[in-house]
């Protein structure tokens, strides 16, 4: 077979793909759009490394931690940087105060000069935000006048909120946590990217596998739009003398044309999407359009793989088809479908996943290849199992009303076609169920470990720059929305001024504050108590002996010098029974009222103010008011919201996104289902009209169409639930998350699948009603 013959046949097929009147164009367009959507998603995936790399490079270039244990001395080329990140309506704002210490002070990326005190560079998104109404409280928090915008190189996303402000008051704050002196911006350690958290890596892999597998299956289905018509055309070609091989190659050419059109559409969709990309923000991640550069190798892979898949799928689907001059004959397979080899794929998948069990719980990294291929095998295994399942299940169905009988008999005759139609849906639902389960499991796990009870307090303010909490507390009490505050400070003591031994915790607060931590029978200013959670080893017990002399905030050799305050423990130490709902966990030492401590120990106290909100003031205004108040007093203070479900809202967003993605994939597959449904109906125009002629109710035929879609989908969803729950279970085992089934997400995914069936039936109704008009009987 010469290459020229091949080329000629393929070209002929290409011509057929676009000719054939309106119907031909519609089919080509549908194929193009279907494949195009898949290609766009694939290109996005191919651009993922570039997105991650660019973001990582930008992040590294602006890094302002020194990671060095030796202090840098002030010099001509040093700068003091304070982290003043804040949150505005649950969106992070990256804030940096800069105080250059000489003419050669380094410049962070994205700005062309260092802002003077009272000046500020902001990111474009922050500039937009500040221009919008209702942001006065945020404006109040930001120190200075906007004099410029931060360029793309200083940001990791188009929607990132960030600012650089000049300051002259940072040097005294050095060592207060988030203030540091550095001599350069950028990653000095150059250790490369940190390996991803194995669980996170698993989640990322899963999202891609779960969303891309149905897309791949969809692409495979999309190139087969118009299959029946194609069969007739091929038969006609055989009649005029083509041999079987030529007919096959022409069919392959048609599929090739559709997929190439799909590639063009896909690039179009991708470019259009990239233009929109800068205004899109997903899970607090936004990107600049030029991040979206597909890796050339991956893009080439997409460009080659999609047409190749189209051709292979076509040839594979014609495997059991004999194209005869007078029509296409489907040779029935050798008897019934066999189960054993169809089970191989899912079993192989499970086999690959088994060694990964328990790896997530600090047991090491997952092998990404084993995970990916394992999950892939399990999901793709569905497409092998489903035809068998449909054939078996449908073969047993019998009886029932006429509409049921019509549908069942049709399915019995062509169970393969029916199974193929729902393959994509089943795979998408199975993957989504597994992922939802995993997310729900990780969520539940996290929530349990936080132990934070938002009914006790709503906000926690960690003070940094302020030496005493008093000013902050006064300001907070005057702020709208604050009902009550509790102040707790913490420090520690050891046996010597300088020690390498373990130290004991001191929790400092007035009697009211201590009572938030523990049950105390009587408490007066000057009292001190031993926590019921205190360490009980001999050394610790000895340190906590009443009247014993100890050193508060001892120095650790080689580190910054501590307060080293000499303290004689009170002669009497009360006992404090720790509350189950204590504001602080891990109370392992003493609970002390402020006046019991020597004054010299004061500077060593790290204080937190817990704020109970006034429920009458609506959220999130109250929180924003408080953030603004706190930052005015202590620019470095950190305000965090107490939420037992804090993490779960973050995963919640991912889960919503996943749900939306899965629903979109399902809708896409639904569209292809609709197309093949309409095609089938058109083919049966004569039959439908004659059934109507002898008095068949339209309802009967409509119901039969519904059954015809619903039965395979129900079976598909059943299998999807089984595989999804199994995969979900395995994934939860892998991440060492307690096994549990998240029924709401299982049911919602199944519900979406069912909704697709209903929608497809409803949308095919107008065509069905039109076809059922008796005009179909006209032959003249």
């Amino acid at each position: 077979m010469s290459a020229r013959r091949w080329a000629g046949d393929l070209a002929m097929g290409t011509r057929f793909a676009f000719t054939g009147g309106r119907e031909g164009w519609v089919r080509a367009l549908l194929t193009g759009v279907g494949v195009g959507l898949g290609v766009a998603l694939l290109l996005l995936t191919a651009a993922m490394p570039s997105i991650l790399d660019t973001r990582h490079a930008h992040e590294a270039a602006r890094q302002d931690y020194s990671f060095s244990s030796t202090d840098i001395k002030p010099a001509d080329d040093t700068i003091v940087v304070a982290h003043t990140d804040t949150v505005w309506h649950s969106k992070d704002v990256r804030g940096r105060l800069l105080q250059p210490e000489g003419a050669k002070a380094p410049l962070p990326p994205g700005i062309d000069r260092l802002p003077a005190a009272g000046e500020m560079y902001v990111s474009p998104a922050l500039a937009d935000l500040l221009r919008s109404p209702g942001t006065a409280l945020l404006r109040e928090r930001l120190p200075g006048k906007v004099v410029g915008t931060i360029g793309e190189s200083g940001l990791i996303g188009s929607r990132e909120l960030a600012y650089y402000a000049g300051s002259e008051k940072l040097v005294p704050l050095l060592g207060k946590g988030n203030v540091e002196r550095i001599d350069r911006f950028g990653d000095t350690t150059s250790q490369g990217s940190e390996p991803l958290d194995p669980v996170l890596l698993l989640l990322v892999l899963m999202v891609f596998v779960v969303l891309l597998t149905p897309v791949a299956i969809f692409v495979a289905t999309a190139v087969r739009f118009g299959g029946e018509q194609r069969d007739r055309r091929l038969a006609a070609l055989r009649l005029i003398g083509c041999d079987g091989g030529t007919a096959r190659r022409i069919a392959a050419g048609e599929a090739l044309a559709g997929s190439v059109l799909g590639l063009v559409f896909g690039v179009g969709f991708f470019l259009a999407g990239a233009q929109l990309a800068s205004s899109i923000e997903l899970f607090d991640v936004s990107i600049f359009p030029d991040y979206l550069t597909p890796s050339p190798v991956l893009a080439l892979l997409v460009a080659l793989a999609v047409p190749a898949t189209a051709v292979l799928v076509t040839l594979f689907s014609l495997r059991r088809v004999v194209i005869e001059p007078l029509g296409v004959v489907r040779t029935s397979g050798p008897g019934r479908r066999r189960l054993w080899w169809r089970l191989l794929l899912p079993l192989l998948g499970l086999l690959m996943l088994t060694p990964m069990i328990g790896k997530g719980n600090g047991g090491g990294d997952f092998n990404p290849y084993l995970v990916t291929f394992g999950v892939l095998a399990l999901l793709v295994g569905i497409t092998a199992l489903l035809p068998w399942l449909v054939e078996r299940a449908v073969g047993r169905l019998d009886g029932g009303p006429v509409s049921w009988q019509l549908a069942v008999r049709r399915l019995q005759l062509s169970s393969g076609t029916a199974a193929r139609m729902v393959n994509g849906i089943a795979v998408a639902v199975a993957g989504a169920i597994a992922l939802q389960m995993l997310f729900a499991g990780v969520d539940a796990d996290y929530t349990k470990s936080t132990g934070k009870d938002p009914s006790r307090t709503q906000l926690e303010v960690d003070l940094r720059a302020a030496t005493t909490p008093d000013a902050t507390v006064r300001a907070l009490r005057a702020t709208r929305g604050v009902r009550r505050t509790v102040t707790l400070s913490e420090t520690s003591f050891g046996a010597r001024p300088e020690t390498t031994e373990d130290t004991i915790q001191i929790m400092v607060g007035d009697c009211a504050a201590l009572r938030e931590l523990a049950r105390i029978s009587s408490c007066h200013e000057g009292d001190a108590f031993v926590s019921s959670g205190a360490f009980t080893d001999a050394a610790s017990r000895k340190l906590m002996t009443p009247g014993h002399t100890v050193w508060v905030d001892p120095s650790y050799p080689g580190n910054t010098k501590g307060a080293e305050a000499r303290w004689t423990l009170p002669a009497e130490l009360g006992r404090a029974q720790v509350r189950k709902d204590a504001l602080r966990g891990d109370l392992t030492g003493l609970l002390v009222t402020p006046s019991a401590l020597p004054a010299k120990a004061r500077p060593s106290l790290g204080s937190s103010v817990y704020v109970m909100l006034d429920p009458k003031v609506p959220e999130p205004e109250a929180t924003e008011e408080i953030r603004t108040t706190v930052q005015a007093v202590d620019v470095l203070a950190d305000v965090s919201i107490w939420q037992s479900t804090e993490r779960s809202t973050r995963y919640g967003a991912i889960r919503t996104g996943l749900f939306a993605g899965a629903a979109a994939v399902l809708a896409l597959i639904g569209a292809s289902l609709l197309v093949s449904q309409l095609e089938q109906l058109r083919e049966r125009k004569k039959l439908l009209s004659s059934l109507i002629a002898f008095g068949t109710r339209r309802r009967t035929l409509t119901l039969s169409v519904l059954w015809q879609t619903a039965i395979p989908i129900a079976l598909g969803l059943l299998l999807a639930m089984t595989v999804g729950l199994t995969l979900g279970g395995v994934l939860m085992k892998m991440t060492a998350v307690p096994l549990r089934v998240d029924w709401p997400s299982v049911l919602s995914m199944t519900g979406v699948g069912a909704a697709i069936v209903l929608a497809v039936t409803l949308l095919s109704l107008p065509a069905l009603l039109r076809l059922m008009r008796p005009d179909g009987l006209r032959t003249e």
């Binding site: 009886g399 009303p401 006429v402 009988q405 019509l406 008999r409 049709r410 019995q412 005759l413 004569k686 039959l687 004659s690 059934l691 109507i692 002629a693 002898f694 008095g695 068949t696 109710r697 009967t700 008796p774 005009d775 009987l777 006209r778 032959t779 003249e780």
Partner: protein, 232 residues
């Protein structure tokens, strides 16, 4: 050229039927009448409107104007559901092509009209098998239409058209796709069965040898009908 007013004892009568599909006039004042037990051939060149006449008479397609009376009832006053029910219970149909549901077995196909009328499946298939016996195709009961020959399929279709005991049987080129021998056998079985149940048969055909199985013929030309018996 219109048929005269409905003669006494007529089961199905049409007067002055007009029907156009867009700009194409299919019927232009056609008339028709048939008695119980009568076989009437509707003849005429292709495109003359014979199939449209049949579709109108059977209540499949409503005419633009004119009157069709079946057993004393004016069809124009019936709604679609009533006409469908009429077709299910009183009429039977045989077409040239595309009438057997390919995925149902032959006996299920024959039983279909009964089941549409609410007969239980077992009973419907029993009756269906009886009719298949009369049409000499009972051995095909479990086969699907794709597995039987054209003549056999057409006999199955005839069995299906008769299974409800219709009072009027509409046959549109019932032998159109068959060879002479099969065609004649189908016609013999069809007319014998119809006569034995006193059903009227409206037989649309352009073949004289098929029309020769009728009692009289009506000729349709350019949308107008001519009743040859009354005209001579």
């Amino acid at each position: 050229m219109n048929a005269p007013a409905a003669p006494a004892g007529s089961l199905l009568t049409a007067e002055d039927l007009r029907k156009a599909y867009g700009p194409t006039v299919a019927l232009d004042g056609a008339g028709f009448s048939i008695h119980p037990g009568e076989v009437v051939a509707v003849m005429g060149p292709s495109g003359s409107g014979k199939s449209t006449l049949l579709h109108c008479l059977a209540g499949i397609v409503p005419p633009d104007s004119g009157s069709i009376r079946y057993a004393g009832r004016e069809m124009a006053t019936m709604n679609d559901a009533e006409r469908s029910s009429l077709r299910r219970s009183e009429f039977g149909f045989v077409f040239q092509f595309g009438q057997l549901v390919p995925e149902l077995t032959c006996v299920e196909n024959v039983a279909l009209p009964l089941r549409l009328n609410g007969t239980s499946r077992k009973e419907a298939e029993k009756t269906a098998l009886g009719w298949m016996q009369r049409l000499e195709v009972d051995d095909l009961a479990k086969k699907r239409p794709g597995e039987v020959s054209g003549g056999q399929g057409q006999r199955v279709a005839v069995a299906r058209s008769l299974v409800t005991g219709p009072r009027v049987l509409f046959a549109d080129e019932p032998t159109g796709a068959l060879d002479s021998l099969n065609g004649e056998r189908v016609m013999e079985l069809l007319t014998d069965a119809a006569r034995s149940t006193n059903a009227a048969v409206v037989l649309v055909t352009h073949e004289a040898r098929v029309a020769a199985y009728s009692d009289r013929e009506i000729v349709v030309r350019d949308g107008r009908s001519r009743d040859m018996e009354r005209a001579v």
